[in-house]
């Protein structure tokens, strides 16, 4: 397609303008996170008159903040590991052993991508099981809600590992667990990366889970901590923005270093081809 030089330039200007609209709010958080309470309440894009680094020190001096960071990491790690392993195992059988049972199982899992979580009955169930307001409770909840997407992802990729591989390994006398864990899994390591990124971001960003399932603030995740922090310090936007920066920065660093994986991961399976 021929596109003239002028229209090329116009497109570039349009993109630059839209990019500006996306980036400006982030710039606003950054500069205002370094302003005192009076200046940050003006939400200006100018640089701070004096850099108030202690906004960050103040947020980090709160034991609850550090604790909620650690809680999120703890919950995230367990969720990611279990979701990946369970999803890989399920996807392996679903893809390798086509039949009525596996097909039904697959569609039942996919329901989880469509139907909203029934949160009030979930709370009651967890109370009955004695896992409401516990780490293991929220970890199990996260595994349950993240499994559908991971199973979807793994099932799609599993077909890229040729069946002949399994047969060759079997002829060599390889057991079925060894076949799965030391031959199949290493071959689909890219999906592990994708699934890990998607699930980590989902847990890191989630609000609904801890909001309904964790009442003890000591077990809160970072996002829930933001919610209570803001209601406490809403008069000082400087520290609120510093807190938002601190929560965003791991995701931003991850995003800018691994953006190829992240973009293809988050949109994975949405595109045929």
């Amino acid at each position: 397609m021929k596109t003239s030089r002028v229209s090329h330039a116009l497109l570039f200007v349009a993109c630059a303008f839209l990019g500006f609209i996306v980036l400006t709010p982030f710039a606003m958080i950054l500069v205002n996170s370094l302003k005192n309470s009076r200046e940050s309440a003006l939400f200006g894009l100018n640089l701070p008159k004096e850099f108030v680094w202690k906004n960050y020190a103040f947020v980090l001096s709160k034991p609850a903040v550090i604790r909620s960071f650690l809680n999120t990491i703890l919950i995230g790690v367990f969720t990611v590991v279990c979701t990946n392993i369970f999803a890989a195992m399920a996807a392996y059988v679903i893809q390798r052993r086509p039949g009525k049972l596996t097909k039904t199982a697959y569609y039942v899992f996919l329901l989880g991508l469509i139907i909203p979580v029934s949160i009030i009955p979930t709370i009651r169930l967890m109370m009955n099981l004695g896992i409401h307001n516990t780490y293991q409770g929220i970890i199990l909840y996260y595994i349950a809600v993240n499994l559908p997407f991971s199973i979807f992802l793994f099932t799609g990729f599993m077909s890229s590992v040729p069946r002949e591989m399994d047969e060759a390994a079997m002829l060599e006398g390889c057991g079925r667990l060894r076949l799965f864990f030391s031959i199949i899994l290493p071959l689909i390591s890219t999906v592990f990366v994708t699934s890990t990124i998607v699930v980590s971001i989902a847990v890191w960003d989630d609000f609904i889970g801890p909001f309904y399932l964790i009442s003890d603030y000591k077990k809160w995740t970072i996002v829930l901590n933001i919610y209570s922090f803001v209601s406490q310090y809403e008069t000082n936007w400087g520290v609120v923005f510093a807190f938002l920066m601190l929560v965003m920065s791991p995701i931003l660093i991850l995003y800018f270093t691994l953006q190829r994986y992240i973009i293809s991961g988050v949109t994975a399976g949405s595109v045929k081809g």
Binding site: C15, V22, L23, Y92, L101, I115, I120, R124, I143, D206
Partner: protein, 292 residues
Amino acid sequence: MTNIQRQNYPYWFLFPAFAVFGLLFLLPTGTGLYYSLTDWNINTTAIHFVGLKNFRDLFADKKLTAALAHTLVYAFSVTILRNAIGLGLALMLNTKMRLRGFFRTVFFLPYVISPIIIGYLFTAIYHPAHGLLNEGLKLVGLRFMAVDWLNDPKFALLSTILVDVWRTSGFTMVIYLAGLQLIPTELFESAALDGARYPQTFRYIMFPLIAPSLTVNLTLSLIGTMKVFVMILVLTNGGPGYTTEVINTYVMTAFSLGLYGQGTAANLLLTALIILIGAPVLVLLRKREVAL
């Protein structure tokens, strides 16, 4: 082969996933069907079956019918806008532009940030006196448009919609872009040979061939936006009045008032709505897809 299959691909591999998913997703969904027909609330010691009473109460509640309407308005507005913008962005980035990789990264960026952070960010941007939006409007001489975006009942819902469009257009863009890049270049070359101009190329080549991306974007978007919660909670908390109340904020209020049966029933309405709207849209769109 079946023997080999049975040996090497044992069904129990499904068990861990199914146990967790069954226990914490399917079971509450199932018991929810029952609880929605009961008088379960914070004061009851025993739960009684009350038939469709909760649903009758819900539909008699103006706040709920408003929440239903807002959920639909929100879902359809966000879906249409984010798809229009996402497709536009994808078409722009599908040319041989400088820095296109950079722009792609930038446009997708808001999608990875927690909605709660985006919510607080826009609370500041929409601030009537000092927020960036109104400052910008005053700067370009549109002072009359500088309203109190989140507290004016006329604009509150629109304001929440625009934040979600800002947040997710990059996601739809990436899916359209992937669809566009699957189109073989020979098709464009032969179209150019036949003298087709850009609008015709778009109408007869690109649009039919990105139909699968359209299907994915529209269904994912409708399903996702009907579940909106955090964004509304942070930006307006359903207010002013109940002009931005959506089903999920209604469920939360019912829960905090201890009306568990009624809250579960409201949640069930959301499930029904998603299935009623999502399924036909999906079927309709799939029919129109062109195989490459």
